[in-house]
């Protein structure tokens, strides 16, 4: 019995350090760490591809890599960053780690399914890396037909299989979260006492579960069409290329919300904690994430304004795309209102959160520009669109992801990192990001098309600025890798709740024990019961 009691008190990191104990673990926290490591590796691969792209575009002549290599590079960048980094990043690492803790459960509902989803992620990744080693793919991450099915002479099928497999990893994660949040909340933890992070991941899971199967089947059809030469998408064989775009964007537009909704959840936690205020308009924040999830399914056609779909469809999709801005704006207003009269402290996670709000706002406002049918006809396939979706997906998602990693790092590892370096990195990333991507709005407006490896000489200055920003950004991304790893060995002990934050995850030790809580917590207060600073 005493051995059993001792096991209760060791952290999830202790008690079995062998590789096997990690690779066969059913503990959601260890699986989160596995994800953290593999996702970071993919981020580095995608980042190297981005560096090659920016290096090529320093000069207007295509002199660093050939056009073919350039195509393969941006395809690799897109495929890896979208499917192996942005989509899984926050849900699979922070979500896996935190959701059972935040709802006061001992684990996710289906631990084996959870481990299986990490293995699927890994196998999908191996396929994709294998595809790159074999020679790469040049279709872009969108696999547009009929190019991908008839004309591309690259490893489309291998890439498609990789994405297909990783899609199932996403579906399993979504099922696990939905069931856990519905059925395993601690006594007293009603729906409207849940942290925003849980709400955000709940909405995200709904999208994952309802959108990903569509992508999986669509990509299967691409593979079948390519292998058997029977056209469901290729017009030469009787197929319909618009059908592909409808099906693809039915998944891939909601996928943007898979990336940004969890980021909103992270930002809410951070902003509430570091301004010592309850989230302003809590219920509206919860309704907003659900509204975004629902509306996200009605806007895919704004990717197809110039594709040949009917003009009436274009008008409706434009209208719906404007409507999505409403719940998104509610979120931004309410974060601002939460900050109002808060006692704000600028710890590193808070800097990331504020950076997130700023970048998300620019991304959202330019989103209104490209949602406008007439403007989009001018801006389609230019760098304006690239800048817009990087502000949302990278500026939004990655800022929040890094902010969340910093915020919960003490919880995950029990160690504090260097606060000074944390702030330096946050500022570097924010500056580097804006210097990289803001010029691209101008480039796009001036008409520089995407996916080209050379461009008119007149656009060189802006491109040089953009590539210079990418250097700063790279530095900013590499810094946390150094000081976070450093903290594992030399960081001071964090203690259970270093930020004096609310939320169930802070009521257990850091790092938490294997089954999270010594006894199931009972919730008696609303979420974010911070006492506001009173003069």
């Amino acid at each position: 019995m005493s051995a059993n009691a001792a096991a209760e008190y060791t952290s999830y990191l202790g008690g079995g350090d062998t590789l096997k104990s990690w690779l066969t673990t059913l503990d959601h926290k260890r699986i989160a760490v596995l994800y953290l490591i593999s996702i970071t590796l993919f981020f580095l691969i995608g980042g190297v591809a981005a560096a090659v792209i920016r290096l090529e575009l320093v000069t207007y002549a295509g002199d660093f890599v050939t056009a073919e290599t350039y195509n393969k590079t941006f395809s690799l960048h897109g495929i890896v960053m979208v499917w192996f980094f942005l989509i899984p990043s926050i849900p699979a690492t922070l979500g896996n780690f935190l959701i059972p803790l935040m709802v006061g459960a001992r684990d996710l509902a289906f631990p084996r399914l959870n481990l299986a989803s990490w293995y699927l992620y890994t196998v999908g990744g191996i396929f994709t890396i294998g595809m790159v080693i074999a020679g790469g793919v040049d279709t872009g991450w969108t696999f547009y037909t009929p190019f991908s099915t008839m004309f591309s002479n690259t490893y489309v099928v291998a890439a498609v299989i990789g994405v297909f497999i990783v899609g199932f990893s996403t579906i399993f994660t979504g099922i696990n979260f939905i069931v856990t949040i519905h059925k395993m909340r601690a006594p007293g933890l009603t729906w409207f006492r849940l942290p925003m992070f849980v709400w955000a991941n709940y909405a995200t899971s709904a999208i994952m579960v309802l959108a990903t199967p569509v992508l999986a089947m669509t990509l299967t059809l691409v593979a079948v069409e390519r292998i058997f030469q029977i056209g469901i998408f290729d017009p030469a064989l009787g197929g319909d290329p618009l059908l592909f775009q409808h099906l693809f964007w039915f998944y891939s537009h909601p996928a943007v919300y898979i990336m940004v909704l969890p980021a909103m959840g992270v930002a809410s936690e951070l902003i509430a904690c570091f301004s010592r205020n309850p989230i302003f308009g809590y219920r509206f924040m919860a309704y907003s994430v659900m509204a975004i999830a629902v509306l996200g399914f009605l806007v895919w056609g704004h990717h197809m304004f110039v594709s040949g779909q009917s003009v009436y469809a274009g008008m409706m999709f434009s209208l719906f795309s404007f409507v999505v801005a409403i719940p998104s704006a509610i979120k931004v207003f309410n974060w601002t209102a939460t900050l109002y009269k808060g006692s704000i402290s600028f710890e590193a996670p808070m800097l990331y959160a504020l950076g997130f709000v700023f970048l998300f706002m620019i991304g959202g406002l330019t989103g209104i520009v490209v949602a406008a049918l007439a403007l989009d006809v001018h801006l389609t396939d230019t760098y304006f669109v690239i800048a817009h979706f990087h502000y949302i997906m990278v500026g939004g998602s990655v800022m929040a992801y890094l902010g969340g990693i910093h915020f919960w790092w003490p919880k995950m590892t029990g160690k504090m990192y260097s606060e000074m370096w944390g702030r330096v990195a946050a500022v570097l990333i924010f500056v580097g990001f804006n210097v990289t991507f803001f010029p691209q709005f101008l480039l796009g407006y001036l008409g520089m098309p995407r996916r080209y490896h050379e461009y008119p000489e007149a656009l060189e200055v802006l491109n040089v600025i953009s590539s210079g920003g990418a250097v700063i950004l790279t530095l900013g991304y590499l810094l946390p890798l150094v000081y976070l790893l450093w903290s594992l060995r030399y960081g001071r002990i964090a203690g259970g709740n270093p930020w004096e934050a609310k939320g169930l995850e802070w009521q257990t030790s850091s790092p938490p024990a294997k089954h999270n809580f010594k006894e199931t917590p009972v919730v008696t207060e609303e979420a974010y019961a911070y006492s506001p600073y009173k003069v």
Partner: protein
């Protein structure tokens, strides 16, 4: 007594919570399945809209007699599956096994009839990318029809096969007396899955066999 299901998985508080979690998990999984097939139904709808005449012509080449018989067989298997779930609720192990075996036999019969239809299609040279040969104005769209036919009924057949394996496993568990009238979640979830397989077929049958036969 020891082989009865008494222990709850460690992440759950009580058997009731475990039951609700497992059931919700299955429903959500089936929702993903609906979307999975949804792509194929959407592709069918668009293709049929593009080539109404060719699709009508092509669908007259499916075997309505065999198709109708297999539909009857599959729906009967849904009935026996429901009886297996009912037996589980009443705690009758032998009846569970009996009805599961009956369901498996019906499912195999369904696959056999479908195989016969595939073989006929092979004889008429209607298998795309394999031996497709069709005289007439609508060669490409007819090929598209049969491509969708084989893809959709094939995907369905894969689900039937998986169902057979699951039902066999459940029958073995019932034989080891793993279920009681208080714990029969796996039987019930298998029933849900099988109902889904039935429902997909209920949509496939009119699309491929009935619509153009008036």
């Amino acid at each position: 007594m020891s082989d009865k299901h008494t222990a709850v998985a460690e992440q759950f508080d009580d058997p009731e919570q475990e039951y609700h979690a497992a059931t919700l998990g299955m429903w959500v999984f089936l929702a993903t399945e609906v979307l999975f097939f949804g792509v194929l139904f959407a592709s069918y709808a668009v293709s049929r809209f593009n080539y109404p005449e060719a699709f009508a012509e092509a669908s007259r080449h499916t075997d309505i007699v065999l198709g109708t018989i297999s539909t009857g067989v599959l729906l009967t298997s849904g009935f026996t599956m429901a009886l297996a779930v009912r037996s589980a609720k009443l705690g009758r192990d032998k009846a569970i096994i009996g009805f599961l075996v009956l369901t498996i036999l019906l499912a195999i019969a369904f696959l056999f009839i479908e195989g016969t239809e595939y073989y006929q299609a092979y004889g008429e040279q209607l298998i795309p990318a394999f031996n497709f040969m069709y005289e007439g104005a609508h060669e490409k769209p007819v090929e598209l029809f049969f491509f969708l036919y084989f893809l959709m009924t094939g995907m369905h057949a894969v689900h039937v096969t998986i169902g057979i394996l699951i039902m066999a496993a459940i029958a073995i568990m019932a034989g080891r007396r793993r279920f009681t009238s208080y714990y029969y979640t796996p039987v019930e979830l298998t029933g849900l899955y099988w109902a889904f397989v039935d429902i997909v077929w209920i949509f496939l049958y009119p699309l491929f066999y009935l619509v153009a036969r008036t």
